[in-house]
Symmetry: C2
Subunit: 263 residues, 2 copies
């Protein structure tokens, strides 16, 4: 564990009582003891210097001090690159369980702001037919994967998972927040080279990346995107499975944005 992710109930208390599960994780899995100091983050991405004040069976009280720009308790918890990462939202066509888990894990590590499962025509998986409780179960599992990935990579970005939405939902919720880059495996009219799009991005706005499911987007869906003025991009590589395409696109876009920062 690089940083401990504080539960959503944490609200800046100086002393905070952990759940039995978190207590087990810290004291059994990581073998921490009373007095152990470690780095943490709350759900807004703020850093906290934490230490175990009391541990008795399945109860653990931790002391919490806001960390400011660095951690005193565990300075190695901070990645070497610690400027604020540009906001990137990843909309990705739903795919089968393990593949989608892998995307969530890797996109969280890289520091995506938000991951949004997209219901598309060619998607192998659809949630629309399923009852609400199974959608909730899926979202809960995804949130666990995010938490584990955040604890491992020390990311300052508290990646969010949205509930799945259709393309119309994506278009209306995104509105004019910022530029949208749609990655599509087949060439279509009006495609701009990726680095030209990146070079011309307006400063500081959040960016949305849209990646199709296995089999790509349908012609209808591509038309919907194009009518919104989104950028369509053909990656100059082989045909990638969607879990690889998502990480490929996110890596290139983030590394460009961080290298050529606005400020």
């Amino acid at each position: 564990m690089r940083t401990f992710i504080l539960p959503p109930e944490f609200n800046g208390e100086h002393e905070f009582k952990l759940s039995a599960k978190d207590t087990h994780y810290l004291t059994r899995v990581l073998r921490m003891k009373e007095g152990s100091a470690f780095a943490g983050r709350d759900r807004k991405g703020n850093g906290w210097n934490l230490s175990i004040i009391l541990h008795k069976q399945d109860v653990c009280i931790i002391g919490c001090q806001q960390a400011g720009p660095s951690f005193t308790s565990a300075p190695e918890a901070l990645p070497a690159y610690n400027l604020k990462l540009r906001e990137i939202h990843v909309y990705i066509g739903l795919c089968k369980g393990k593949k989608f888990d892998q995307i969530i894990r890797q996109a969280t590590e890289i520091g995506a702001t938000r991951i949004v499962p997209l219901e598309t025509e060619h998607a192998v998986v659809t949630l629309a037919e399923k009852d609400l409780s199974s959608v909730h179960a899926k979202t809960a599992r995804w949130n666990t994967i995010v938490k584990e990935a955040l604890q491992q990579c020390g990311s300052q970005v508290p990646t969010e998972i949205s509930t799945p939405m259709a393309i119309d939902g994506m278009i209306s919720e995104w509105g004019n927040k910022g530029p949208v880059l749609v990655f599509h495996e087949a060439p279509i009219a009006r495609q701009t080279p990726l680095f030209e799009v990146l070079h011309n991005l307006p400063p500081s706005l959040p960016i949305a990346l849209v990646i199709g499911p296995e089999g790509g987007f349908s012609p209808n869906e591509i038309d919907r995107f194009m009518s919104q003025g989104f950028n369509s991009i053909l990656l100059k590589t082989n045909i990638l499975r969607s879990e690889t395409a998502a990480i490929y696109a996110l890596s290139v876009v983030q590394s460009y944005l961080e290298e050529f920062r606005d400020e």
Copy 2:
């Protein structure tokens, strides 16, 4: 299957007898019949228009015609981007089974020329202590993953897996073939921004990417690399697990090289 990967024994014959295993794959798994046409590649990456001439139980004879720049039998087998990809060799610190399998699968999809497992000081896995037969078994499994990935993505690059080597072995086998980019999670002296390195790469030479294991390279290892004049690069992102770092680095480097091609 996008393209069928011909066995190493294939030597340009007009008619070729497949193994029982390949016969089973084409006729049972993919339900192809006599007369079925499909796209294939040999182990050098050349395209072939293939068709089943005869199928009897576990024997299958296929007809083979060299495809030139496109496939007539299955034109969709060719990725939309079909220029020759720049040669990229990925040296990656050995990590545990499933993670390493994932790296091989994704790097093959993306079109890495060669993947070389590196034995490093911090590696969780070492093969040096193991007997030759278990190294062979591992290499055989990796080759199966490569073949499956090639069949799925239609890559023109017949990705190779080398037998594992130590850092000294890497340095002597690479020699002066081309620039080497070493990705390291901690900042060290003389680090150049990634895009500056990419911008200054000499044209057409093969590129080597070197990615550390979980825990990164040791100071000794970094010294060895630096004394060779390799480029050390700190990715401007969170701390990534090695399987994510490998794909992140490969994606950024490949997309830059393909966007700004020499010819």
